[in-house]
Amino acid sequence: MSFEFTKENLEKIEALKSRYPSPKALSLPCLWMAQYQERYISLEAIETIGDLIDLPPMEIYRVATFYTMFNLEPVGKYHIQLCKTLSCALCGKAEMLNHLKNRLGLSPGESSSDGAFTLTQVECLGSCGTAPVMQINDQYYENLTPEKIDIILDSLEEGS
């Protein structure tokens, strides 16, 4: 396995370099680019980033493990992140989780064998006013009900 940034990403990184006194400041943007490119951050990607911005891989790895939004294991094409924090928990998160589990046949932390879905539970998504909430890739889905979840998943399954 090896990792290489796409040409566009490399250009973006070069452009970002001029914004900071040292390229070492770029670990977060580089990690994001790697995650968008491969859906997760591999150890190879961490090595590559280290070379690019002149930091030992351990420094990048520390950052990558600190932020829970970085996936260090491969995830499915649709990464379903269900909020489990207080407001969502009070507004029916348990029911949503059960529904997702039954519908997808997955427990939190698992991915479907066809690589389409990964289900995880996350802390507050910052959208408590519209609880319960889930995030699929970069999209928020609010005021969830089991019926709403079915419609969302149906459309995703159709799309893929």
Binding site: L43, P56, P57, M58, E59, Y61, F66
Partner: protein
């Protein structure tokens, strides 16, 4: 920078303006608890244990990140600050396992010490509520990590990032899940790695070599000098004599000396204590068979007197200067040529830019100073008397007497046991010309004589 006076606990101290308050506290033995600060690693300010009160400041401050200013009034004691320390300690210990009875650090553990000094609270947490981490992880380089016992002071990670610059270790994750780790699939791998065992204030990092060998409160620490190379790093020899057994060395630890080794030693030097015990030459061997001392001394005289011809004396460049001088006088008396060939002593694979020297003989400088020759006479040798020089096999001599600390296959008529450096005392001159005295530390039940003791016995025989 200017020297100024500040007041600590109602006493006046003089210190450099702008220097670290914690350094002053440490220097004057004013008790302040701390985990993360270390003189070699600097301030990190992460453990918050080193709180003191400073007049005019609303809240307690960490001493490791406080610069000394004019008219500073500091309090390190008192109910208030003790309470603060108790609370911080309680947080440090929230997830700490109750491992002391089986933990190798017990007895030299900062958590234990601080708990006895400032803690002594009733725990608010049930054992079953503690967050668990991985235990006994083999990090590599003979270091074992127990993640649960870690207080996340980052001394070990700062050692690999700032001192060795090898960057193997880091604190990964966050909150309850934060722990020390290497990169997945990677090992701790550098020739100074075991220093992190000494740096770790708790039992999270232990030495694979030392763990479970001995409870530390049974050990006596005696100052000494490592003989691993010409750097002459300062060490403590930790040793103990168990009932019915011989005095045993359990470990070497670095001893601070800013002129020589700073705070650290290399791993090879650290583990070289084994040579002082393993495979020792303890018997007197005459023509391949052990013999009594009287017999050996008679044989010694006979070998000396058996015919004329060239006598060559070899001296190991690890012997103490006093021993070398004695051998020098003895050589003059016998009309012998004294030499200490350096061939086998240079080791470029061992050397580095920091402590490790390519000159593996610890007292090579003294050989140079005493004007002892370092090559061999090419005449035919009638009698070779060897004082523990490693290289006798390649030398062709009619008769050979060899004084040995450790067993070695060699064609010698007479082999006599010799004390190792910890069983003798004397001076070493390191590669930078610094003279260091090395006291006798170990007394065996059945001691091997030192060079000086042998010289006295043999000369009595000669006279």
């Amino acid at each position: 920078m200017s020297q100024i006076d500040i007041v600590i606990d109602n006493m006046t101290f003089t210190a450099e303006k702008g220097s670290l308050l914690i350094d002053l506290l440490i220097k004057h033995d004013l008790k302040v608890p701390y985990f993360c600060y270390h003189e070699a690693l600097g301030a990190d300010g992460n453990c918050r244990m080193c709180m003191v009160e400073i007049e005019g400041q609303k809240r307690p401050q960490i001493a490791c990140d406080t610069l000394i200013k004019e008219e500073m009034v500091v309090r390190t004691k008192g109910e208030n600050i003790d309470g603060v320390r108790r609370d911080i300690l309680e947080l440090e210990l929230i997830n700490h396992p109750i491992d002391c009875p089986v933990c190798d650090q017990a007895g030299e553990c900062k958590l234990q010490d601080f708990y006895m000094d400032y803690g002594l609270y009733e725990s608010n947490i049930k054992q079953s509520d503690k967050v668990h981490h991985r235990k006994h992880i083999d990090l590599g380089s003979s270091v074992i990590l127990d993640q649960e016992r870690c207080v996340l002071c980052a001394r070990c990670t700062r050692f690999t990032s700032d001192i060795t610059k090898t960057h193997e270790l880091g604190i990964i994750g966050r909150g309850d899940h934060a722990c020390v780790s290497t990169m997945p699939g990677k090992k701790l791998d550098n020739p100074y790695a075991m220093n992190i065992v000494d740096l770790c204030p708790v039992g999270a990092l232990t030495s694979k070599d030392f763990r479970f060998q001995q409870r530390v409160w049974f050990l006596t620490s005696s100052p000494s000098i490592c003989h691993g190379c010409a750097k002459g790093c300062n060490i403590f020899i930790d040793h103990n004599r168990e009932k019915y057994k011989d005095e045993t060395i359990y470990r070497f630890r670095p001893r601070e000396n800013q002129q020589v080794n700073g705070f650290f030693i290399c791993d090879e030097g650290r583990l070289s204590y084994k040579k002082l015990q393993d495979n020792r030459q303890l018997d007197m061997i005459l023509n391949g068979k052990s013999c009594e001392e009287a017999e050996a001394l008679e044989a010694y005289r006979n070998l000396l007197e058996a015919g004329s011809g060239k006598i060559v004396i070899l001296a190991d460049a690890n012997l103490y200067t006093e021993e070398l001088e004695m051998i020098q006088i003895y050589a003059q008396k016998l009309g012998a040529t004294l030499s200490s060939p350096m061939v086998s002593d240079l080791d470029d694979a061992f050397a580095d830019e920091w402590l490790k020297s390519s000159q593996r003989a610890s007292n090579a400088k003294a050989i140079e100073k005493l004007g002892i020759m370092t090559d061999l006479p090419d005449e035919k040798i009638a009698l070779l008397i060897n004082f523990n020089h490693p290289n006798t096999v390649s030398i062709d001599a009619e008769r050979v007497i060899s004084f040995r600390t450790n067993q070695q296959k060699e064609p010698a008529d007479l082999i006599l046991p010799l004390a190792v450096f910890s069983e003798s005392s004397g001076t070493l001159t390191n590669e930078d010309g610094i003279e260091q005295y090395c006291p006798k530390v170990i007394t065996r039940n059945d001691p091997a004589p030192t060079v000086i003791e042998w010289m006295i016995r043999c000369q009595e025989e000669v006279e």
